[in-house]
């Protein structure tokens, strides 16, 4: 939401709070999206698109770069040339800034880098908060200033930005990722005048004077020799020496201006405290709560917040501590702060304490509660306190963890605590954000909102934690004892124990159909018991019915929001309703009266539809909540995975986890998410057995198989089978079977099904029908289906139909319903999964591919399957090359050893292996057979090298290395690597799942984004054409290149995959992937793919360097000349239509230019195809010209 940048109290998160200052105080932003800092850049881009002005009446330039390294270079340049510049980042992105941070600091440029402190990827990636990233910058020469709350993020953005101009030392301004960056609080906004009064125009002018300009030429960035480098480095010391005082001076000025007073180190607690915790970041707030709790009971404790962390002003630090302090615990996610504190005392002649211990907390946004803080204070009282402890986990391995009271609740009763369980798509979070705005901005109450999401992109559960109270809210942790709990989806009662979070006597609201009695009866036994025991007041509303009757089918957010206000009693009911209506008017007024009216109707209808559920004295059911996973699940899944799935991951001890981030495959199959309302039902009589349904299924939830008829013995009654249409496989049955609990109901299978009833063309071989009625029967059928014998891979054709009889080794991922990427990934695993090494760039592919709790990659009956791994975002191609080089070296080693043992194992084996043609399935199977025989023979050889060969022998069977990622990686941040890997000639296959936008981080523009499309960082429609990476790759001449779109021509996709894999060199496949970021129903994803091709937006081709040797053209166009206008394709997608709504003139201009580009590009391709044909055309024999006739 964009708000006017005017002084007032507004509910917002720290990202928005920091960005609103940065935007007004700068001229050039160079940015790159990375969670959770992306919204800061996005806000600036949106403001610039709306022509909002900075303090000097200019619209800042917001430039998206190809990587954080690029952004760092661009801001360095902008600063060097005299602009006021800023940027935003975190985590690995911040690491990419580091080289330039040294330069920027070394040259004393005034600059603020705003950072949402986030964990660094180590044994795993984490998008969540800790200080791993900022701690890696301590040595760069940047000042480091930490904000603990959204208000501070706003204030310190101003203090850092104005101090850096005067002090010339650049600042890293940071706050905790998610916990602060995404926590919504009431923020007092600084007005433009406030900022002006803090800002020294002289300092701005001095910065301009230092600008590099040919009008006053100077040179910076020299190379220096041993004679002078050292001295020159020390020359800047004074700026660092003066900085702490300068920051404090600015904080004092700020305090005068706003009344909000800050110190370099802020102490909170008893003035005579003996025990003190030193901490930095949002944890300070929870610690303050603990301090109040303890001191009210007579303890003497305090907590010190480190605000200016670099330079670490020892004097200020020591002064801030009470003179009485005897013991100190330093809390820090990584412990460098501990060293600073120890050093401070070591360097002090006057101050001594008896004990300093350090401990780690909060890694990857681990919960940090007052109870944990109290445990730390308790530890300080012990004669032998544990040092280098951990708090917040149970470390049963190295015994570092402190015990804490998990039941303790320090929150005051006058704080209303509400927790809402919603489904991702139901608008619960949006409605709650809205409620915070209402209470935060329209009343004197303080408000806090924090939102938790699960790891899935489809069917995800969201949990909203909202607090409202008469004092500022410092509880920087999830609500543990709520007075209001709302369940926005009735299906959750079967899956989640929502009552544990409810305080005794709390209100429980559930969205469920039926009478109050029916609602009560629908609760499982555990839930009924808890409600009775805790004396919860239960209310029910059929929100879906109310929404439908209000003209907004499916949109329950307004209904549930109204019900919350009606029951929670934070505001008088009438006032609350008035405020909700006002908020609706504000949100939707510009969108149209109709939306406003329908929402208003929903508000009015909601109150009337609320029913109180009478809670009986005893439970009325014996039905228990079903187990999280089936009893058949393997041990690890039962012990670890299931706990994570149940939301109990916090309770797992250290010993539960692999030590190096290695996790087992095949775990999504135990989740049984039951997301589909409708599932496909197969009519065998209509089916033409084309297997297209299985090909397009994004979740591998519909599969086909053929099997000897005899295998049908014992089939469930409802199991469907028909004669397999195959001359090679007579007497076989054929079945299409859906996995009813894993299907997400996207309907793509039914949409692509070409088999129609001749007399009723509405009727297809696959039709969607409601899942609940089919569930039990299809579960049995699915189980039976999985036990059927599978065809011999070596005999299967490698065409579309054959491919779908191969087991997908990628199933039931957390990808979006109707995902356009996963069908390609699945196909890859069907062909090569049993010999596949995957290097996966960070992004959607790595999230649905590798985000815990479960793993979609799985194994075949022989236990083989994809070996998958994610290194980083930027290095994926290089990482994949490394996998290739390793596999090659190990293969060479195995071959060398093989020749050594030739005599012992028999020449036949060696020869057979050398001769084995591993380009086919049969060849691979044969190689495996020989390797098996080899291992057996070697087992009898008593030599160390024989054991080595046994270990490495499997490398004699070909490994297929694939590098996967999206366009953000391949076109932007990883392009240098992609380009380099293509140039090496090595056998690495690169599959780019091109959604033309950064999908995972929320739709930011990439160089693949087409002209005219609206995306974040091109809010006014991208005005440059999509980069033609395929054409660029062709220029190498030795790279296999294909551009495919499964929805346009699936056979071409399959051909491209096979050709790429068989090409003994680098291959690049760019695959069109429809995406929810395009803004249309994914049901039509494959139709849009077709239109993309037919309109010439996505010409399909294959370039194969091998072909000329066979007398065939190296470049083949697989799609016909554009036959529909580009607008026929773009009109169906909101990403293009957005601009038509917002700026029709620009939309037309860009649309026309894009059409012209399509025409030009097609001509280029046509020429390439013609030239390739001509190059291999039989040359006409050269006929000597006839001799002139003799006259």
């Amino acid at each position: 939401m964009i708000k006017p940048l005017q002084p007032k109290c507004v509910a917002m998160d720290a990202n928005e709070a920091a960005a609103s200052v940065a935007y007004r105080l700068n001229e050039v932003f160079a940015i790159y999206p990375i969670t959770p800092s992306s919204p800061m850049g996005e806000f600036c881009d949106e403001w610039a698109a709306k022509k909002k002005l900075n303090l000097w009446g200019q619209i800042p330039e917001v430039m998206e770069m190809q990587s954080e390294a690029g952004a760092a270079g661009a801001v360095h340049g902008a600063l060097q040339a005299g602009a006021l510049s800023s940027s935003f980042t975190c985590s690995q992105g911040l690491l990419l800034y580091i080289p330039n941070m040294y330069k920027i600091a070394g040259e004393l440029h005034p600059f603020v880098l705003h950072v949402t402190a986030r964990a660094l990827a180590t044994h795993a990636l984490s998008i969540f908060g800790d200080h791993g990233d900022v701690m890696a910058c301590r040595q760069t020469g940047f000042a480091m200033l930490c904000s603990n709350t959204p208000q501070e993020a706003h204030d310190f953005a101003a203090i850092a930005s104005t101090t850096t101009l005067e002090g010339r030392v650049p600042f890293l301004h940071y706050f905790d990722g998610f916990r602060t960056s995404h926590e919504i609080q009431k923020v007092n906004l600084l007005s433009d005048d406030d900022l002006r009064s803090l800002l020294s125009e002289e300092a701005v002018s001095a910065h301009r004077t230092r600008a590099l300009t040919p009008d006053r030429p100077a040179i910076r960035g020299t190379a220096q020799n041993p004679d002078v480098f050292f001295q020159a480095r020390e020359a800047a010391n004074g700026f660092y020496d003066r900085l702490p005082a300068l920051v404090q001076k600015k904080m004092d000025e700020f305090g005068e201006l706003t009344g909000r007073k800050y110190k370099l180190f802020d102490y909170y607690g008893d003035a005579q405290a003996e025990r003190v915790i030193v901490i930095m970041g949002s944890g300070f707030e929870a610690a303050c709560e603990a301090v109040d709790h303890l001191n009210q009971k007579g303890a003497k404790v305090g907590v010190l917040s480190v605000r200016l962390y670099r330079p670490f002003a020892i004097e200020h630090f020591l002064q801030a501590l009470p003179a009485t302090v005897k013991t100190i615990a330093v809390l820090d996610p990584g412990e460098p702060l501990y060293m600073d504190v120890v050093t401070a005392f070591a360097e002090s002649d006057t101050r001594k304490v008896s004990k300093i211990i350090g401990g780690r907390f909060g890694l990857g946004s681990k919960e940090f509660t007052p109870a944990m803080v109290i445990a730390v204070y308790d530890e300080l009282t012990k004669a032998k306190s544990k040092n280098h402890f951990t708090i917040g986990i149970f470390d049963d391995v190295t015994r570092t963890s402190l015990d804490y009271d998990t039941e303790l609740d320090t929150e005051k009763d006058d704080v209303t605590r509400s927790v809402f369980f919603g489904l991702g798509a139901d608008g619960t979070v949006s409605a709650n954000k809205n409620s915070i705005k209402i209470i935060g901005e329209e009343t004197d109450f303080f408000a806090q909102g924090y939102f938790v999401y699960d790891s899935k992109k489809s069917g995800a559960m969201t949990t909203s934690h909202l607090r409202f109270g008469p004092r500022p809210i410092r509880s920087t942790y999830l609500i543990r004892q709520a007075n209001f709990v709302a369940c926005h989806q009735s299906t959750f009662v079967e899956k989640v124990d929502m009552t544990t979070i409810a305080r005794p006597g709390a209100t429980f609201l559930v969205n469920a159909p039926g009478t109050p009695q029916q609602v009560w009866d629908s609760f499982p036994l555990e839930m009924q018991e808890a409600i009775i025991a805790k004396k919860l007041k239960v209310h029910a509303i059929d929100a879906f019915k109310v929404a439908k009757e209000s003209g907004m089918p499916g949109q329950i957010n307004t209904v549930m929001q109204t019900a919350f206000f009606a029951l929670a009693g934070i505001l008088p009911r009438e006032e609350a309703i008035g405020q909700i209506k006002k908020a609706i008017q504000k949100s939707y007024g510009k969108k149209g009266e109709d939306i406003v009216k329908k929402n208003w109707t929903a508000v009015d209808n909601s109150v009337a539809a609320l029913n109180e559920v009478t809670v009986p004295a005893a439970p009325t059911t014996k039905r228990r909540r079903p187990p999280v996973v089936s009893a058949d699940a393997p041990d690890f899944v039962q012990r670890v995975t299931a706990r994570m799935m149940a939301g109990e991951g916090d309770l797992l001890p250290v010993s539960a986890f692999p030590i190096d981030g290695t996790f087992p495959l095949s775990t999504t199959r135990w989740e049984k998410r039951n997301l589909a309302q409708d599932i496909p039902v197969w009519d065998a009589s209509l089916c033409i057995q084309c297997n297209k349904c299985a090909l397009v299924c994004p979740h591998a939830a519909i599969r086909t198989n053929f099997y000897p008829n005899a295998a049908l013995a014992g089939a469930p009654e409802t199991f469907k089978s028909t004669k397999f249409r195959s001359n090679e496989n007579p007497d076989c049955g054929f079945t299409i079977q859906v996995a009813p609990e894993d299907c997400t109901g996207c309907t793509l299978c039914a949409k692509v099904c070409p088999a129609k009833d001749k007399s009723n063309l509405q009727k297809k071989a696959l039709m969607m029908q409601p899942q609940p009625a089919l569930l039990e029967q299809e579960k049995r059928n699915w189980d039976f289906f999985l036990k059927l014998p599978t065809p011999d891979r070596t005999l299967l054709k490698t065409d579309l139909k054959g491919s779908q009889f191969m087991q997908p080794l990628f199933e039931f991922s957390g990808a979006c319903t109707g995902c356009g990427e996963t069908p390609y990934v699945k196909l890859l695993t069907q062909f090569y999964g049993d010999r596949l090494l995957v290097a996966n760039a960070t992004g959607c592919t790595s999230i649905y591919g590798g985000n815990l709790p479960t793993t979609p990659y799985c194994t075949d009956a022989a236990g083989r399957g994809p070996a998958w791994s994610n290194s980083l975002f930027e290095d994926n191609a290089e990482y994949g090359l490394g996998l290739r080089l390793a596999a090659d070296q190990l293969e060479i080693k195995a071959q060398l050893l093989l020749t050594k043992f030739a005599a012992q194992v028999g020449d036949g084996i060696v020869e057979a292996l050398v001769k084995a043609d591993q380009s086919t399935e049969a060849g691979i199977a044969e190689a495996r057979r020989i390797v098996g025989a080899l291992k057996q023979k070697l087992a009898t050889v008593d030599q160390p090298e024989a054991k080595t060969l046994i270990q490495l022998a499997d490398y004699l069977v070909k490994k297929s290395v694939w590098v996967l990622g999206g366009d953000g990686w391949a076109y932007d941040i990883g392009y240098g690597g992609v380009d380099h890997v293509l140039s090496t000639g090595k056998n690495v296959n690169i599959l780019v799942l091109d959604t033309e936008v950064y999908s995972n981080t929320g739709g930011q523009k990439s160089k693949s984004t087409p002209m005219g499309a609206v995306a974040k960082f091109s809010a006014n429609g991208k005005d440059t054409a999509k980069k033609d990476m395929a054409l660029m790759a062709i220029q190498y001449g030795n790279v296999y290149v294909a551009r495919v779109a499964m929805g346009a021509k699936d056979s071409q996709t399959i051909q491209a995959f096979r050709e790429a894999e068989s090409f003994n060199g680098p291959s690049l496949i760019i695959a069109y992937s429809h995406c929810i970021a395009h803004g249309y129903s994914m049901v039509n994803g494959f139709d849009q793919q077709k239109l993309a091709v037919e309109s010439g937006h996505w010409p399909m081709f294959r370039y194969d360097p091998r072909r000329p040797a066979r007398g065939e053209p190296e470049f083949v166009l697989d799609s016909a000349a554009p036959k529909v206008a580009l607008s026929q394709y773009t009109k169906n997608e909101i990403r293009y239509q957005f601009l038509h709504k917002a700026d029709p003139v620009r939309a037309k201009m860009l649309g026309d230019t894009a059409q012209a580009n399509v025409n030009t590009r097609w001509a280029v391709y046509q020429q390439l195809a013609d030239a390739a044909k001509a190059a291999v055309a039989p040359k006409a024999p050269v006929v000597p010209s006839a001799a002139p006739a003799a006259s």
Partner: protein, 333 residues
């Protein structure tokens, strides 16, 4: 001889009887200006469809809002923008722009789905500055449970309610598919309408034999379609006092002349403007003047209804007998 081309339609005095009909022609302000320059006497906007507004809102929810706040890394997938409006805002803004661009009276057009929607949007259109409103009334009676009487009652209720809700004049655009169109027209008049527009043209289904799909199509009108209009203009002229607009099949100046002679106060042209260009209005006007001069008509008023059912020398030509007579002629040949 100075010709008087002026006419009065919906109580508005117009310089001549030719105006563009409801179509996307008015999407471009350049084209609106060009039509004004070519001599159009009024501008008729394309229809505001309540159904479309409803769909846009649903699409906005389904494709934007539904994906918001679902996943920790992506609170949404598009830049937040309040620059675009859903619902009637875009249409209403366009009325304002046309009013700013040209001096001609603007007749807006509306197709509702619910009675509340009709009245609400009619009001908004009035507020946006439209000089008159054309109600684009059609109903495809696919449900066997709904009688013709019910359809007619609904139409009349819409007319009555909209009229009660707005001050600007209201024309009713009809389809020819009523059992007694004459009766219907009279009823519409009784319920307060200020004019009639004959007739609406619809998308018609076609069958794609390759894809085995039904494809809705709307082709440009052909001059043959005019005859149905001529007949009903002639029949209704005099029976109802309402001024009538002829639309559908007017391509040439002679078509304009015929329409007026049958009883139209104005003609609305679309297909011929799309085929040629907005300047074609000038050609039509010139042709009309030429014909009037040749036939020595001094004014359009003098022409109007001269060959209507009540005024033509052979009323049977418009009536059912017509059909029999032609057959007889054919038989005797």
């Amino acid at each position: 001889m100075a010709l008087d081309l002026s006419t009065t339609y919906l109580g508005i005095k117009l310089a001549n009887p030719i105006m563009p009909g409801a179509s996307p022609l008015v999407d471009s302000l350049d084209r609106v200006k060009a039509m004004q320059d070519a001599g159009a006497s009024a501008i008729v906007m394309h229809s505001l469809f309540e159904e479309q507004i409803d769909r846009e809102m649903k699409a906005e929810y389904a494709h934007l809002r539904r994906h918001e706040d679902v996943f920790a890394e992506a609170a949404n997938f598009f830049p937040e923008s309040d620059d675009y409006a859903l619902g009637p805002q875009e249409y209403l803004a366009h009325i304002r722009k046309i009013k700013e661009t040209c001096k001609l009276p603007v007749i807006a057009s509306l197709n509702g789905t619910q009675i509340g929607g009709w009245v609400e949007y009619a009001n908004l259109i009035q507020q946006a500055g439209a000089d008159a409103l054309e109600l684009n009334l059609y109903y495809l009676a696919t449900d066997g449970a709904i009688s013709g009487e019910e359809v007619e009652t609904d139409v009349l209720e819409i007319v009555r309610t909209v009229k009660a809700g707005v001050k600007i004049p209201v024309a009713v655009k009809l389809s020819p598919f009523f059992s007694s169109l004459s009766h219907m027209a009279k009823e519409i008049e009784l319920n307060g309408a200020d004019g009639l527009v004959l007739f609406n043209r619809f998308y018609q289904p076609d069958i794609d034999l390759e894809a085995l799909e039904v494809v809705p199509k709307l082709d440009l009108s052909s001059p043959e379609e005019l005859r149905l209009r001529l007949r009903w203009l002639a029949i209704l002229f005099g029976q109802v006092k309402l001024p009538m607009a002829c639309t559908g099949g007017v391509h040439s100046a002679h078509d304009v002349v015929k329409s007026i002679l049958a009883g139209a106060s104005v003609v609305q042209v679309v297909s011929s403007l799309l085929k040629h260009n907005p300047a074609h209005i000038r050609t039509l006007l010139t042709g009309l003047e030429q014909w009037m001069q040749e036939k020595e008509y001094a004014s359009v008023a003098q022409m109007r209804g001269a060959l209507s059912l009540q005024n033509c020398p052979d009323p049977a030509a418009f009536e059912r007998a017509n059909y029999l007579k032609i057959l007889q002629v054919w038989r005797t040949n």
